[in-house]
Amino acid sequence: MAFRNLLLGAVFAFATPALAAAAAPGGDAAPAGKSLTGATANLAPNDSAGQWTRQARDYANTRFSPLAQINKKNVARLRIAWTFSDGQMYGHEGAPLVVGDTMFVVTPYPNIAYALDLAKPGAPIKWVYQPNPDPRAIGEACCDKVLRGWAYADGKLIYNLLDDHTVAVDAQTGKEVWRVLLDDVSKGPTMTQAAFVVGGKVYVGSSGGELGTNGWFQALDVKDGHTIWKAFTNGPDDGALIGADFKPFYPWMKGKDLGVSTWPGEAWKQGASAPWGWVSYDPDLNEIYYGTSNPGPRVPSQRPGLNLWSSAVFARDADSGQAKWAYQFTPHDEWDYDGVNENVLIDIPWNGAHRKVMVHFNRNGFAYTIDRSNGEVLVAKPFGLQNWAKEVDLKTGMPVVNDAAHPVVEKKVENICPPDIGVKNWNPSAFSPRTGLLYAGVFNSCMDLTNHIVQYIPGATYDGMEMQRHAGPGGNWGEFIAWDPVQGKRVWSIKENLYVWSGAVVTGSDLVFYGTMDGWFRAVDARSGKVLWSQKLGSGITAAPMTFLGPDKRQYVAVYAGVGGGAGVIRREKGFMPGGNTLYVFSVDGSGIGTGNSQLISQAGAAAPVSVPPAAAHN
């Protein structure tokens, strides 16, 4: 079969549900309040509705907020309440946290933290913390000098620095409480991951999939930052914390020291597999879940074998770190399809029973619904344009690879879909227990790929992929989709000109918010996909939005506009905006403490009267 036909076949395979959705534009797909799939989620730790104390709001990584003051009737009245520019020009990716009356934001390199006082007009700065990371990290971070998020716990703001430190800062004063060094940046590893906290542990992972690093994940003590446990991704079982508890579902992932034997020689030592993405936690199973990056180098002919545990997901005991199961999404990854994207923990009806699952939109273009108690893949369907695999065989858990998609050294292979950056990257999806759907920004693109043999040089890239990326059928680079995790199909989609590389948030009023790379911030009806409001911002949006209640009990929505990160791969496309660093905070009519209609009477430091009572904003 010609490769072109393969491509068309792949398009058709996933296009059908989108066409069906397009047949009923704008109409509500179901009565308000009815779940379309029966899927639910445990929203522990069940923070009060107005707070947003961790990147994905809950341990399950749903990014669902129960707030409903901003609703379908008043969302079109959203206006800017206030903004905050942090002055740093690398890509902005994280979501602000709101704890009590304070908002916390952290910039990309040089990773400056700000506490903003939400109780005062215009949210002035309470304190600034400047960690002064080592500038050598700039040259070692592959995909812009970003930070994907920060954590709050035990009265501290905790986050990673690009130069391989994790720091904790007193949330009241901004004074450093502890700082620990976790790797040697001069050899290639950096830290861009969003620290994740459960109880007394901070979970952090390394970055450096393109630098021949030896990826690791560890749990630090919230009190002083000391390492409680550390698990390398690859290498011998003892270093990977793989022991008697480890029970992968599929036989090909069972055996001793597979993190060594599935690589040639000692290639695993530069095999990357860095856990730079999201972490989620199931309080009932007391397990954490996180994914691993591509194997190094990106040229597959240099590392024959499965290359375990690259491009995979791990379930581990949260206290001991011992692995419970793993699943490799892309065995012997030939295309840079990291497995680090978020694992959203939900519960679904399945053949008359309920299953505790995770939903994972992989770079490789398949959306997986996996039983999180044992690693069994229940659903694996394309959620966008891909042609590298015919399907994922659910009996074996193995993808069936198209012969025409294999890269060749020093020969251009055309039209492999998706390219390295995937059908979706780290940009986190959202899940609503009200609609039972997931919402995700996705990519529609392919690559012409030429591989080059590379040698390992510490501190330099260990890469070898030369690519020309191009938009897929339709000419649009991106889409925003709603996904049924039980059926494994799209419910609706919105085409966008450029990659949709922002996160998403979904609310108790069935509104979904996301941003585009050409600077539009949108509110969408979570059931129908109808766009209800759009606001053009000062830069492209590659950050995760969030929503919170201010001290005035008013609902706000916040998002950074500061395009960057991996999105830079299409920086020369028409419509791609210059970088930025502004946090935009929206409310109905732009009202807030001392702002909105009363802004002319507000003074620095003086609390002006609230112009529009929150009760009025409900309508």
Partner: protein, 113 residues
């Protein structure tokens, strides 16, 4: 005669300490040097940061008019040899001055006009 040739070569390829910003590229206009530089650009993983087309990515674009550490041949030579505080590795322990000039030649051949 042999000594003379060696002297000539040394004069043509000044060592690191002798290279200043205005030192001309001794291999300027030499097609073989450009091709050798091209090969090194791939072999030493330069392309991983600066792109196989030199237009940047993880590291800066080398084809535009913007040079963080100077765009004269001698300045490019120094940047390659000694690295930068912002994470560009130093290459003087892995590359000879000749090889660095070959890389300079290749980079100069790709400059946009």
């Amino acid at each position: 005669m042999r000594k003379l040739v060696l002297l000539f070569l040394l004069a043509a390829t000044p060592a690191l300490g002798q290279v200043v910003a205005d030192t001309p590229n001794p291999m300027a206009g030499n097609a073989d040097a450009v091709e050798a530089g091209h090969a090194l650009f791939g072999k030493m993983n330069c392309a991983g940061c600066h792109g196989y087309d030199l237009t940047g990515g993880m590291g800066p674009d080398l084809t535009d008019a913007s040079w963080l550490y100077g765009g004269k041949p001698g300045e490019i030579f120094h940047t390659i040899a000694e690295g930068t505080p912002r994470g560009m590795p130093a290459w003087n322990d892995r590359l000879t001055p000749d090889q660095i000039w070959q890389l300079v030649s290749y980079i100069e051949s790709k400059k946009a006009n």
